[in-house]
């Protein structure tokens, strides 16, 4: 009910702000359409955030039932989480695998994006298609294939296997993100650096890298999120020693969903907010820089 009120209120507010922007008075059917669109749209947006909004307060529930009203506020489920060896191990494993994957995927992906930009259009198109195909092929298929390949080498139930498989999933996202940043990079800057006597390496490190850094960092965050979120590869390739957070949650939901899971879920929502915040900040910043550079170029 509160949700319904929220939707109605937000719809009214945004509809009013839109109407104010339009100069002329809208006709009745137009008004009806606008209000209908806003109500429907905000309803869908509420549907998108509702699960997250509901789970976060539940993790602070003093009682052990996963329902409202809360029977008091307590941090007991967080204490539970911190005290559980299997959850702390899952956190450690996820961060370990995520960080190494990020390093590998960012290195391979950034180099590839730089290369693709310098290739002729025909070659670049085919190579991008090949590089992006791990995004298109369902992960479960890649997981089966990787399982068959790694099994004879003892890489199933090993960190190495899991990290390699996560890098396959993550590297294409780094390529996409860095390539998008390179689109806004003015190659004349490198020529200018070269004409001032910089070697190609120095020009890259001192001129290009600082400018494309926001894109590289965004790509790295994407890579980390992909690895941190993956469950399919982990179900195939992680043994009990490599169990990651998603696998731990998967087992938890399968057996009996407990408030401890909502505490872990809340921490992951916080992490998502942080990662999203960084990426959005970098995006806005690089757009500002891009516009500033374009302006400077015109004067």
């Amino acid at each position: 009910m509160a949700g319904g009120l929220l939707v109605a209120g937000l719809a009214e507010l945004s509809a009013v702000s839109l109407a104010r922007n339009g100069r002329n008075a809208a006709s009745l059917p137009q008004r009806a359409f606008t209000i209908g669109l806003h109500t429907f749209g905000w309803g869908v947006l509420l549907f998108l955030v509702l699960p997250l909004l509901v789970v976060v307060p539940l993790s602070f529930n003093a009682g052990s039932f996963l329902t409202y009203p809360l029977s008091g506020i307590s941090g007991r489920w967080y204490a539970d989480l911190a005290a559980s060896p299997s959850w702390s191990k899952a956190f450690r494993n996820s961060f370990f695998v995520g960080i190494i994957t990020t390093v590998l995927a960012t290195g391979l992906g950034t180099a590839a994006a730089l290369g693709i930009k310098r290739l002729g259009a025909g070659r670049a198109k085919w190579i991008s298609l090949v590089i992006l195909s791990p995004i298109i092929v369902p992960v479960v298929i890649t997981a089966v294939g990787v399982y068959f390949l790694y099994a004879p080498f003892g890489l199933v139930s090993s960190f190495t296997g899991l990290i390699l498989a996560h890098t396959v999933l993550a590297a294409p996202f780094v390529v996409i993100t860095v390539a998008a940043t390179l689109d806004g990079f003015d190659p004349n800057l490198l020529r200018a650096a070269a004409s001032c006597g910089a070697s190609p390496f120095v020009a890259f490190r001192r001129v290009m890298l600082p400018l494309i850094m926001p894109g590289v960092v965004s790509g790295a965050i994407f890579a980390f999120a992909i690895s941190f979120d993956d469950i399919v590869m982990a179900l195939f390739l992680a043994g009990p020693e490599q169990r990651t957070l998603p696998v731990q949650m998967f087992n938890g939901v399968r057996e009996e969903i407990s408030p401890t899971i909502t505490a872990a879920a809340t921490l992951l929502v916080v992490l998502a907010v942080i990662l999203l915040g960084i990426v959005e900040y970098l995006r806005k910043r690089s757009r500002r820089l891009g516009i500033a550079a374009a302006d400077a170029g015109q004067h």
Partner: protein, 424 residues
């Protein structure tokens, strides 16, 4: 100055001196260009090599596994040779019984016996115990006749069991691929479909496509208006709305799925709300069934629909629609003839993304769906992790890969052949 000199030198008519200069300049340019291309390729090479080993090779390996029958064929080599001329219906020659006894005698006590028994059991239920029992009580090779096998178990008198043995002796086998579509090869060489009550795979494939279609359609209906709302909102509101789309997008899949389990369970918040509103007197089953699976899948995939549509809508100038309306088009006509075609590329890529992702999904339905709502990905994982039937997992993976490729090709074909709006 120098540039002008070069231009005049090159423009000089017919002088013999400029030709070698021109050629060497061209060669230099070509060499420089080739050098640049080689350096570019060197930058791409590490990732290409990495993906070749850890992505392309695995896919090839999987496809190969689905038709690989070498181990079984080797284990049953003599039986295979003896059955080569059998027609599949008449009595099995004693030579085949003798060969089987010899093969089983060699297999006894090795892990290969269990492998062969499992492989035969995938084909005809009950053959695992039949083979293991026979291997324990093998007759001496002197009187290894069909009758002797029949006295161990009368099942050996029936052609069905021998047909299964024959099918297991192909080095390159179509068994798994056919089993993945509920078919099998009969001894005469034809392909027969299993009766509907025995075959489940066709139903699972249809179900997977059905669920993916419903989810995609729902995402279009929910996502298109939302994308429009965000694209037409003031920057402040747009960024608030965008957060509502991006936050779930960045949140772990497991968090979202478990949140839906919490919300939808029998005594969960949604049921309490429905009862509080007086819409229902008893809790509605919303979880561990198709409804729950649909809700959670739509929630997970909706951002993949909204984001591409939104980014196209941002690039469509409102002037076009205004122009259409000022030329006398009704709002509906203006939408249908101008706005929809212009935003179609976003809609198309959103549809492709959602549909292909939905085809391969299995975690969300596994946690929130019932036994009858599992999709093809679930069975691929099941055959790998639970029954260790690698051939079947590989065959199902191959079919899912094929489906994905077909969907992708249809998309690129549509994108390439229809109105210019698709191509942008």
């Amino acid at each position: 100055m120098t540039a002008g000199a070069v231009t005049t030198a090159r423009a000089a008519p017919g002088g013999p001196a400029h030709r070698p200069l021109d050629a060497s300049l061209g060669a230099q340019l070509r060499r420089a260009d080739r050098g640049r291309q080689i350096r570019a390729l060197l930058l791409v090479a590490p990732l290409l090599l990495f993906l070749f080993v850890n992505f392309a090779l695995p896919l090839v390996l999987m496809l190969a596994k689905s038709i690989d029958g070498r181990e079984e064929a080797r284990a049953l080599a003599r039986t295979g040779a003896a059955l080569a001329s059998w027609d599949g219906r008449s009595a099995v020659p004693d030579a085949a019984a003798k060969a089987l006894v010899a093969d089983l005698g060699d297999l006894r006590g090795t892990p290969a016996l269990s492998m062969v028994a499992n492989r035969l059991n995938y084909d005809v239920n009950g053959m695992r115990s039949l083979v293991l029992k026979t291997a324990r009580r093998l007759p001496p090779s002197g009187d290894a006749t069909l009758a002797a096998l029949g006295s161990i178990d009368p099942l050996w008198q029936r052609p069905e069991q021998w047909a299964a043995v024959l099918r297991a002796t192909d080095r390159i086998t179509s068994f798994h691929v056919l089993a993945a579509v509920d078919a099998r090869r009969d001894p005469a060489g034809g392909i027969t479909m299993l009766p509907p009550q025995q075959g489940v795979m066709r139903e699972i494939f249809l179900r997977t496509f059905w669920i993916a279609s419903v989810v995609t359609l729902a995402c279009i209906v929910l996502g298109y208006p939302v994308a429009y709302l965000i694209a037409s909102a003031t920057p402040g509101w747009a960024s608030v709305m965008m957060m509502a789309v991006l936050l779930p997008f960045w949140t772990s899949l497991l968090v979202r799925t478990s949140a839906w389990v919490v919300l939808l369970q029998t005594n969960g918040i949604v049921n309490k709300g429905l009862q509080g509103l007086g819409l229902t007197s008893a809790p509605v089953p919303l979880v561990f069934n198709r409804t729950g699976a649909y809700i959670a899948l739509i929630h997970v995939l909706l951002p993949f629909m909204i984001l591409p549509i939104y980014s196209i809508m941002k690039s469509v100038k409102p002037d076009y629609v205004r122009a259409a309306v000022s030329l006398g088009a009704s709002p509906v006509t203006a939408f249908r003839r101008v706005y929809l075609p212009l935003t179609l590329p976003g809609l198309a890529s959103g549809t492709l993304l959602v549909f292909v992702s939905a085809l391969g999904f299995y975690i969300t339905p596994a946690l929130i769906g019932g036994a009858g709502d599992q999709m093809i990905g679930f069975f691929i994982a099941y055959y790998i992790n639970d029954t260790v039937n690698w051939g079947m997992a590989a065959a199902l993976g191959g079919l899912l890969l094929l489906s994905t490729a077909v969907v992708f090709l249809v998309y690129t074909w549509l994108a390439g052949s229809s109105s210019p709006a698709w191509r942008s």
